[in-house]
């Protein structure tokens, strides 16, 4: 068991020099103390996932605990009859537009924060931090009034703007942190070679920011994809609604069609699962580099 512990073989070699000590107690956690709680927790995590899969795949009215015989009737039904096809397209559009808008605006602002000293900088940073405490949910009515005045109610644009605005502060703080990690001298070297600031940024800094931008963009997409309240409030036209609103409609029906709800849930989860699998390796390093350490 101890052989799988990798770090620093020379330390292991040095071990006999301290007789009488327990060797590396921290690494010698008994295996059952890892696997037992992990298994219990994994059951708690995975049973709900299995449950929704079960309901989505077994025929209506079945009480079997395995999804067999398997059917895709619920998916077909929810995709066409319950317009999840339309909701899906709307959600993809909102998610991608939020991703692009958030990333571009946060990149510009983040660059300014990372590379310039200017008088309003401290105030701006403070505003970014304070905005973390402003709950979007409590601003629904004034936001509704603003979008009504802009004639944007019932247009996906209202949701895109609202999602972007509440994503921006954290994205900008994260991106400015990533830019600060790129040495300024690299950019200056490019200027000496005759690049202007924009070109230097594009060919020197941008490629190095890619992992960070992927993480920030993915967060923006997932948030916009998942978020429910703005879409619920600003989009009344059924053809304009998004997946979470569709799920809510299924849930609040008088007699809930459980198979359709489960299939709709799976449809809602697919893009998020893909994005999650894609960014997982950046998640931990990205957070430790940017968010917590500031």
């Amino acid at each position: 068991m101890i052989t799988e512990i990798a770090p620093a073989p020379e330390r292991t070699a040095a071990e006999p020099a301290r007789p009488g000590r327990r060797r590396r107690a921290w690494d010698e956690v008994p295996r059952w103390q890892i696997y037992l709680p992990l298994t219990v927790y994994l059951l708690f995590t995975l049973i709900p996932f299995y449950w929704i899969l079960l309901f989505a795949l077994r025929p209506a009215g079945s009480t079997s605990l395995v999804p067999w015989p398997m059917t895709f009737e619920h998916f077909e039904k929810v995709w066409t009859e319950r317009s999840f096809g339309t909701y899906f397209a709307n959600s993809v559009y909102v998610g991608l537009a939020t991703l692009v808008l958030t990333t571009v605006v946060a990149l510009a602002g983040g660059y300014a924060l990372a590379r310039f000293d200017f008088r309003l900088k401290r105030g701006f940073m403070l505003a970014l931090l304070c905005s973390q405490f402003v709950p979007g949910a409590l601003l629904l009515v004034p936001l509704f009034q603003i979008f009504a005045e802009l004639r944007m109610i019932n247009s996906l644009g209202s949701v895109i703007i609202a999602e972007t605005v509440f994503q921006l502060p954290l994205s900008m703080i994260l991106i400015s942190g990533f830019i600060r990690n790129v040495p300024y001298s690299l950019e200056e070297a490019a200027w000496v070679d005759g690049c202007n600031r924009l070109t230097a940024f594009r060919i020197v800094v941008l490629p190095l920011l890619r992992p960070g931008l992927i993480a920030v963009g993915s967060f923006a997409f997932v948030h916009a994809w998942n978020h429910f309240l703005f879409a619920l409030m600003f989009l009344s036209d059924q053809g304009k609604q998004t997946i979470p609103v569709g799920l809510n409609t299924l849930m609040s029906a008088d007699s809930v069609d459980l198979g359709a709800l489960a299939a709709g849930g799976i449809i809602a989860a697919v893009p998020v699962v893909i994005v999650f699998a894609f960014i997982q390796k950046w998640l931990i390093t990205g957070f430790s580099a940017g968010a917590v350490k500031g």
């Binding site: 512990i5 990798a6 000590r21 107690a25 890892i34 696997y35 709680p37 992990l38 927790y41 994994l42 708690f44 995590t45 709900p48 929704i52 309901f55 605006v105 510009a108 602002g109 660059y111 200017f118 008088r119 309003l120 505003a127 973390q132 405490f133 402003v134 709950p135 949910a137 629904l140 009515v141 936001l143 009034q145 703007i161 972007t164 001298s185 200056e188 200027w191 000496v192 994809w225 998942n226 978020h227 429910f228 409030m233 979470p244 799920l247 849930m251 809930v256 459980l258 489960a262 989860a269 998020v272 994005v275 999650f276 699998a277 997982q280 998640l283 390093t285 957070f287 430790s288 917590v292």
Partner: protein
Amino acid sequence: MAQAAAVAKPPAPPRRRRASATPRRLPYLLIAPAALLMLGFIAYPVLSVFYYSLRNHNPTKPWRNGFAGLDNFTRAFAHDPQFWDTLTFSAQWVVVEVGLQLLFGLALALIVNQTFVGRALGRALVFSPWAVSGVLTSAIWVLLYNSQTGITRYLADAGLGSYGTSWLSDTSTVFPAAIVADLWRGVPFFAILILADLQSVSRDLYEAAEVDGASRLQQFRHITLPHLKDAIVLSTLLRAVWEFNNVDLLYTLTGGGPAGETTTLPLYIANKSVDAHDFGYASALTTVAFVILLFCSIAYLRLSKFGGDSK
């Protein structure tokens, strides 16, 4: 004005010389889109909430609209037991959720930080509910808690409990039922953040502690915990604010029921403004919520001595 501001830092170090060759307005141009969006869609709505909190404003009763002074606030504190009920429930919800999420998140992070066979898969599975939305969480747990075909049916088959039990519509079980559903997707957030921070603890510290004969529990208390302190303080604070404000899950899972048992203050505010059109009063309640959040956040950072002596 913008120019004057940028000039105000004249003796740039030589390294910055080329940078000053670009227009002085550049930083302002770069933050302008973000600043304008935030002014228009965060600052302005916040100010309008403050403004309306001092007015009667109800589109269905326009004859009463006008300046109200502090009437809305008096009404909340002195004459609205529902305000107190929902505020108490919000506090209860936040404390229980954040406390349990931290506890389980910390335990999980410590476990998956060990070296063991299947660690990568274990981490991926443990973290997987992280990105699941509140509405999807509700959908999943509505299926699990369903009285006819949910988990209770199979528990009853096994002789536990009785058939037809609906945890979400019984006032005595709805709170733990909703708490568990929210824990399911909330724990991974803490696990991820704490795991990220655990990776930066120097191994040498543990080895030194071992040389001194410290037990694993002592190592945890005197090395790990102090190292994690800032991350824990910050993530619990952000999570508490988030849990306070978040309405997706409870709105879709219980709708604030049964009998208003799970109505948080934000849900109550949404009901007042959206359903009852009582916008002046809802704005006053929003203002109260702001002040409470701000006060609690500052107090929490003070009491926890955030960013202070630790490490």
